[in-house]
Symmetry: C2
Subunit: 344 residues, 2 copies
């Protein structure tokens, strides 16, 4: 296992994407999102994906120099055509547009067509919350979550992400797949051979399995509730933007590397100042958060959404981002000099 | 057990609320929502609550003749002061306002202050969807859901409700508490003495219990995910509208009957026509719904959110709404002539 320095990583990964022709601003967002997401401990959506993204840029799945087109369709709605940009860039541009328009209208929704994988959704919702907005971010994803009562998957892990400004610290942020666990956790156990907990995944017949290699679909979070929430996210993304939906989406890893996936996203920015004093809103939220954190715990401390990520972020900033050997091999294929990013 | 006729029920309950001085329009909404919710099979939020509502009107918790005040605070935001109306009326007025404004702006959010229990959230979201809008409805509720890792409850069952128009049938509707099950299901087993499934509820120490009478808090849906979603709903409702939040709320059943609870709601209406052709949107959704319904099932049919309620509605329209003996006793205290609403 190596420990990588986040600043070294930024410059190495930045150089790598630029060398592959990705525009400066696309590079900025994909690298910033990946490194910050890894610092937050969400390894499934952080730097572990850089070999995939580099290949996607090289093969043409991701447009190196996209031209975004915004259609303002109402005083609180816009449609954005992302021109097959890297999703991190498309999402940041869409959220910035939503925040700017919500300053005028109080609220703005942006549906995004023709994007690609956008990494972790917190990146966009927190971006709005840092500007004193409530931010919401959604995306569709390839079909991996078993439809309730069915044998097979239908929707993707279609995440729901929400962020709100907190005085004196980074925003409150809930960023959750609508499946019980992420597919990446199953993939990790496929590597290690460790058995799955009985409620994570199902085999090809739709029967719960503890054998990682037999897993073909994920359990929705809270049963039919997670399935329903995943459907809501799908509607907001692909059915509004006109993109491919659910099983129409090409799989992320097993499709031809040049195939454009036309992922859809949906963003909302809402200005709390339109409902009352924003200072009061933030102070009440802070008091609520502190009250929850002070509750007596069972086996573990009581936290609010995003607290574990904030702690990991502080620790990894100092100690480095851990990368396990199997992942490291994949890193070295793309960047043989990755060792230069190791912590001193 | 009795079977009650929905039309007879409407007229009996209407007469009862009017006799208690409730305005005609408040009566219309509370009765329509309760009867339709019971027809849909959601007994916890239907006519079973009428004795409670009648007492709340009689005691003054619910304002018999509320005067709503709307503050238009942006081209896509409004704040509504509900003047302690029955929540079913307040919510319908708020959603109608949101839909009307979303026709202009594409999207409108309405936060509602000083309301009361609004029954089942589907009533409002479906109201928007019947007008070709996407509808969202949220409310806070008294603290019954255990905070993740804590011993005690913090947020209420704070539901999330979403509806979208479907050609040729009633709208698609997801209406879910952010707890795994509703408190009412625990209360039902307190009556029958039947043990609880091990994942429903916790005792006063925060330990999972199967003894219904020892249950003091509910399990959030999907663990920390349901807890986080409940927090999101709380922010949208009470922190935006300025009302009491989480444990500040008076409990529904054990507070003095005249105490006004100042429940907060949040509604969104979004016009899909601002993103593309609305006919195409609806047809794609219909195809998606039909594809899911046609999937091979495990032990049960595969359905979309709201399908079980649609079936129960069709059955109960003909066969009547069943009311069990223990509930019937409570009905007869308030309306000794309830027998006149029995199916012929």
């Amino acid at each position: 296992m190596w420990l990588l320095d986040h600043e070294q990583l930024r410059s190495r990964l930045g150089g790598l994407f630029k060398a592959n022709g990705l525009s400066a601003v696309s590079t900025l967002h994909v690298v910033d999102s990946m490194v910050e997401t890894s610092l937050r401990g969400v390894d499934s959506h952080g730097i572990n994906l850089f070999p995939h993204y580099v290949r996607s840029v090289a093969a043409g799945r991701i447009n190196r120099d996209p031209l975004f087109r915004f259609q303002v369709t109402g005083s609180a709605t816009s449609l954005m055509h992302a021109d097959h940009a890297v999703g991190h860039h498309a999402g940041a541009a869409a959220m910035d547009h939503a925040v700017e328009r919500a300053r005028d209208s109080g609220l703005c929704a942006v549906a995004v067509a023709d994007s690609s994988h956008f990494g972790a959704a917190w990146y966009f919702a927190v971006r709005a919350a840092r500007q004193d907005m409530l931010g919401f971010a959604f995306t569709n994803a390839d079909a991996l979550v078993k439809a309730h009562n069915a044998r097979e998957p239908f929707f993707g892990t279609n995440p729901i992400c929400f962020a709100a400004p907190l005085p004196g610290e980074e925003p409150l942020c809930l960023d959750m797949a609508t499946s019980l666990v992420a597919w990446n956790k199953v993939r990790e156990r496929q590597r290690t051979g460790e058995p799955l907990p009985p409620d994570w995944a199902f085999d090809a017949q739709g029967v719960a399995t503890t054998v990682a290699n037999e897993a073909r679909s994920l359990n929705p979070a809270g049963g039919y509730k997670g399935f329903g929430l995943g459907m809501m996210v799908e509607l907001l993304c692909s059915l509004l933007s006109g993109g491919p939906a659910a099983r129409e989406l090409l799989p992320m890893f097993t499709s031809p590397p040049e195939a454009q996936r036309r992922i859809s996203h949906f963003f909302l920015a809402l200005d709390p100042a339109r409902f009352g004093d924003v200072g009061t809103f933030k102070q009440r939220l802070k008091t609520m958060v502190e009250t929850i954190r002070a509750m007596q715990g069972m086996d573990a401390e009581v936290m609010v959404p995003g607290d574990p990520e904030k702690r990991t972020w502080s620790r990894r900033r100092v100690q480095g981002i851990p990368v396990h050997d199997a992942m490291l091999e994949q890193f070295l294929v793309v960047d043989p000099d990755m060792g230069k990013a190791r912590k001193a």
